[in-house]
């Protein structure tokens, strides 16, 4: 049974903000199909009444006081920016 089609792959690529050309779509579809087919065998496992793991240790939420502290400076934050303007990150127009 095919678990994932080429159209599914194109849809997932969009969700993941990735791009594949037509030739790669075929390759990745068959690879994902094999991998998903393998991992899907967990559907056989009886997990009735078994909660999903949220953390491997018995840890609950971690709280701290909400205090304002000096963090990175604007200059440091922009140090790796591919493009900047007026002390902000510059990006192409939003369509």
């Amino acid at each position: 049974m095919e678990r994932i089609s080429k159209d599914d792959v194109k849809h997932v690529a969009k969700l993941a903000e990735l791009e594949f050309d037509e030739k790669d779509v075929g390759k990745i579809t068959s690879q994902l199909d094999r991998i998903l087919d393998h991992v899907a065998k967990i559907s056989r496992v009886d997990t009735e009444g078994i909660p999903p793991t949220s953390h491997v240790l018995d840890v609950k939420n971690v709280f701290r006081e909400d205090e304002a502290k000096q963090s990175v400076t604007q200059e440091a934050a922009l140090k790796n920016a591919p493009d900047e303007e007026n002390q902000g990150f510059k990006v192409p127009k939003i369509d």
Binding site: L18, P51, V59
Partner: protein, 486 residues
């Protein structure tokens, strides 16, 4: 004098007695690098000038008695290139971070700096730590010093090779599904993944946040324990780091494991394991018994599903974590795109390698509407079963033993076109990450073809003590002294 195969604790003694200088050590290490790095490709970036000048400064501090010689003072250490080093490029072996210069240190780096360690360089790895062979590096594969036609394992291939070949005295790696232990096994050194949360992940570029853990790669168990002393402990910058007492890990380097209850995991000594690997591991098990360990077989039935659970959970977390690489704030950007969406897509399509994209796709699919319950949530339920099975085992045993890797080092190119077969390389190590347990790999011997075999020793949550006790005793009994021919 050739110092490149000395252990950190040996160098410390020599520094204390003023028998050698830091400068000599660093010069030795770089002489070795000049000699063999072309064949191994263990580093993405070397910091020779910086290392030599630091060594000079540290020598002055020692000779003027301004500092005490600590465990890692003046010790040349390689750092996996997914651990942030302030003002030093940190690439994750990815094109998308080729020019990324962190503005801060990872917590583990600050802790090593408090010892006045010396950074040799940033070590090669599988891109974003995704892989078991170091072949998924944008900067080319690292090679196994025992046979450069073979992989060193991954994803911490570079840091492991650097220690195995004498290009660094120790290294830091990261382990999400075996990325410290499996290469340590394939290269004949010691690698440790601490309990989840023992070591701060602040400054470790995230792959799968519920599984990632930083740990040491060293020449022996003593250096491993010393390194754990430095890197373990709570950090307010990582809310998943455990606020538990950090013991002196060196106090567990004992000579006796009489009465230690040792379980041998039946499912990991079965037909999928190479017979030579099984034999070497069995020899170690016999030694443990001879030393007074109480050895019994133990079954962990849910291990059958560990690989499948991992290959849903890890890619799911990765797809979310790696969404931050979008060409906006740092890293590579496609500059031809006319719109924002186009820029995101092209930047990521061009910036990520094949395996990384494959895992982002698997993860995005498993988390997407209509599939979340069947894949991600189901996997987290089966993960609970695996955790419960380990809990039951640790009611009866102090440590569990298994091979670290089902095979010795395989050939470069052998598995790269078949993702599923590659994923099987981590069958023995992945369950440990899923349950958050501490585990070590130590050399158990060589195959007939002179390739290293690793023994894995697994402990209960926060019970690094039992792991180190067993490891230090078995290390002595096994007496592995071989070095790669390179």
């Amino acid at each position: 004098m050739e110092l490149h195969y000395f252990k950190a604790h040996e160098i410390k003694n020599k520094l204390k007695k003023r028998e050698i200088s830091c400068r000599e050590i660093v010069e030795n290490i770089y002489a070795r690098i000049d000699e063999i790095e072309d064949k191994l490709n263990s580093f993405i970036r070397l910091e020779k000038d910086h290392a030599l000048s630091r060594a000079g400064e540290i020598d002055k501090l020692i000779s003027s008695n301004a500092i005490e010689v600590a465990d890692f003072t003046g010790i040349p250490i390689a750092i996996k290139d997914n651990i942030c080093t302030k003002n030093i490029t940190t690439t994750c072996a990815s094109r998308i971070l080729e020019n990324y210069v962190p503005i801060y240190n990872a917590t583990v780096i600050d802790r090593l700096e408090s010892h006045n360690y010396i950074l040799v360089g940033k070590a090669n790895m599988d891109e974003f730590a995704m892989g078991s062979s170091n072949e998924n590096s944008y900067f080319g594969p690292a090679r196994n010093p025992w046979d450069p036609e073979r992989v060193p394992g991954g994803s911490s291939g570079g840091p492991t090779v650097s220690v195995a070949a004498g290009e660094a005295i120790c290294a830091l790696g990261s382990d999400t599904g075996g990325s410290i232990r499996q290469p340590a096994s394939l290269c004949g050194i010691v690698g440790f993944k601490p309990t989840y949360g023992r070591v701060s992940r602040y400054g470790l570029v995230a792959f799968a946040s519920s599984l990632d853990q930083i740990g040491p790669l060293t020449g022996d168990v003593e250096d491993c324990a010393a390194m754990l002393n430095v890197i373990c402990g709570h950090d307010e910058y990582d809310s998943t780091s455990i606020n538990a007492r950090v013991p002196d890990f060196k106090s567990f380097l004992v000579e006796d494991i009489k009465g230690m209850k040792i379980g041998v995991i039946k499912e990991l000594m079965s037909e999928g394991i190479d017979p030579e690997v099984k034999e070497a591991v069995q020899r170690s098990i016999n030694m443990a018994e001879d030393m007074g360990g109480k050895v019994k077989e133990v079954s962990i039935p849910s291990l059958e599903y560990a690989l499948d659970v991992y290959y849903i959970i890890a890619p799911s977390e990765a797809s979310s974590n790696l969404s931050r690489f979008d060409g906006v704030r740092y890293g590579y950007r496609n500059t031809q795109a006319r719109t924002l969406r186009e820029m995101y897509q092209r930047t990521r399509a061009e910036g990520f390698g094949e395996e990384v994209k494959r895992r982002i796709m698997i993860g995005t699919y498993c988390l997407s509407a209509g599939y979340y319950d069947a894949y991600y949530e189901k996997a987290q339920r089966v993960r609970t079963l695996i955790i419960n099975d380990f809990k039951k085992a640790f009611d009866r045993f102090d440590v569990l033993l298994s091979p670290t890797s089902p095979t010795t080092a395989f050939k470069i190119g052998e598995k790269i076109d078949d993702p599923l077969t590659m994923y099987m390389s981590d069958i023995c190590t992945i369950p440990v990450n899923l349950a958050g347990l501490p585990a070590i790999s130590i050399p158990a011997g060589l195959s007939a073809g002179r390739l290293p075999i690793g023994l894995q020793i697994i402990g209960n949550i926060l019970r690094e003590d039992n792991v180190l006790k067993t490891a230090s005793c078995l290390e002595k009994a096994i007496g592995f002294k071989d070095k790669p021919g390179i």
